[in-house]
């Protein structure tokens, strides 16, 4: 059993290596239900790998991963389906099916997991597209949309089954500041209205401060700081200050 029932996800002693490269190093980490946890850290530090461990797209080399009290790293693919049905995942580049329409993309999880009629599915697709601010794009193909629009369609797809938890991989990367803020507002709305647990990996500190109940900074496969937005802002750790202020090593040494 998971140690802390408040945690929806819990990692215990998780390590992950690709060949000789250790990406996650003996990590103990929990994610609280109904809260928004933001994971920050420099590029290549293993944030996305960590996110993929939560949904078992990558299995740990060592350690245990719990979801809702159940150990999922030992689940077979069949058992993982029920767990994944409760989660939404927003990929960094959207990962929309580019040979299918927007409507098909958003309705894919509904076709897979529900017995809704076509009319009900069409209604849900319409509702989700309105939620992400892109109504009426049902018949377009992803290649006909801008990068930001693709990301919002991907978000509509991630929330089409009304998941309990949404995992965001760089939700605001590549968006203009206004669109990025729309996504931030949407994440906040989902969290407040539906009590969705959100886990976001980001570099965008403005976004992190806005949406996070808790910010975790990750580096070299380990958590180096864990706290609220204010605690992170006021952290005395020079590495944290360097990252959140966006100072390069050379500038920081001057």
């Amino acid at each position: 059993m998971s140690n802390n029932p408040k945690n929806l996800f819990e990692l215990q002693g998780v390590s992950c290596s690709f060949g000789s490269l250790k990406v996650i190093d003996n990590l103990d980490f929990g994610i609280e239900r109904g809260k928004t946890t933001v994971i920050i850290g420099p590029s290549g530090c293993g944030k996305t790998v960590l996110l993929k461990h939560l949904i078992m797209l990558i299995r740990p080399s060592r350690g245990k991963v719990f979801f809702d009290g159940k150990r999922i790293d030992q689940f077979n693919e069949r058992k993982l389906i029920e767990m994944r049905r409760r989660c939404g995942f927003l990929f960094q580049a959207g990962a929309l099916f580019d040979s299918q329409t927007v409507a098909y993309n958003v309705s894919f999880p509904l076709y897979q997991h529900t017995n809704y009629s076509q009319e009900q599915i069409d209604d849900i697709v319409r509702e989700k597209l309105e939620m992400v601010g892109l109504p009426g794009l049902e018949d377009r193909f992803p290649s006909q949309l801008s990068g930001g629009q693709q990301k919002r369609i991907a978000l509509a797809r991630a929330i089409s089954l009304n998941p309990e938890v949404v995992l965001y991989d760089e939700p605001t990367t590549g968006l203009d500041p206004i669109r990025a803020d729309t996504i931030n507002e949407l994440i906040l709305k989902l969290q407040k209205q539906l009590k969705i647990t959100s886990i976001a990996v980001t570099h965008d500190m403005q976004s992190a401060y806005k949406i996070a109940d808790r910010i975790v900074m990750f580096n070299h496969g380990r958590v180096i700081v864990d706290g609220t937005a204010d605690e992170i802002r006021n952290s005395a750790d020079p590495k944290v200050q360097q990252f959140i202020q966006g100072r390069s090593e050379e500038l920081g040494n001057k």
Binding site: K52, I55, L57, E77, R78, L80, I81, E82, R84, R85, C87, F89, F91, Q92, A93, A95, L96, F97, D98, S99, F108, P109, Y111, Q112, H113, R157
Partner: protein, 268 residues
Amino acid sequence: MTGILIRKIEGFGLFWLFVFKAVTSPLRRGMYGRSALMRGHLWSQMYEIGILSVPVIMVTGAFVAMTLAVQTFNQLAQMGLEERLGSIINISVVKELGPVLAGLMLAGRVGGALTAELGTMKVTEQIDAVTVMGSDPIRYLVWPRLLACVLLTPMLIIFADIMGVLGGYVISVWHFGVNSHAYWQFSAQTVEQWDIVVGIAKGLFFGAIMALISCHKGFTCQRGASGVGRACTEAFVSSFIAILVMNFIVALVAKAIYDVLYPSKAFF
């Protein structure tokens, strides 16, 4: 050296695991999606793989038989056996050239497209997206493609055979002036139903091996444009060799079965 060998053996094992998962994927039905949705995918794949391949397959069948007629006529004519041209062309087309060249053409046209499509889906995380949405990517992406290739390769071989037979006839009778009645009579004496059935049945194996290799290469594609390109090349080369090897094995097995079924004709 040992490392390369281990990686090759590991790759071979992973391919057969992939084959097992692909072939058993319909048994895991019920968990994933709706049959209407899957039927829709199957139809679209059948259109892509089957219908769009008909012209190139027909051209391949016709030109191979026509060239064969041109190359063989002189030898037979010198012996006064030009009326037997139909026997040679039609048995070659129906038993070997039609199926093998149709298979190889499909390995290039369809296999390359399958690997490129699935490889691009892999590097743009679309296959991971299928997984995180609680579906089985092999059932959703590989099964319809495998089924379409297995069902339609034999059909395409029929088109190659028909065009081959017609092409051979046109060159032999219209161009070289071989007697039409004799041409068909010798053809009918030589080509048995068994030859036609075995030739078409080869398509089942060629379609299966080509689809499985191409989909596997797409699923295991490395990142980047060069990764997709390399996967396509490997898929074509592997499918090409696999079709030739499979053709040899099917020919051996078919001959053994024929010898048992028709012992009196076994030496002919």
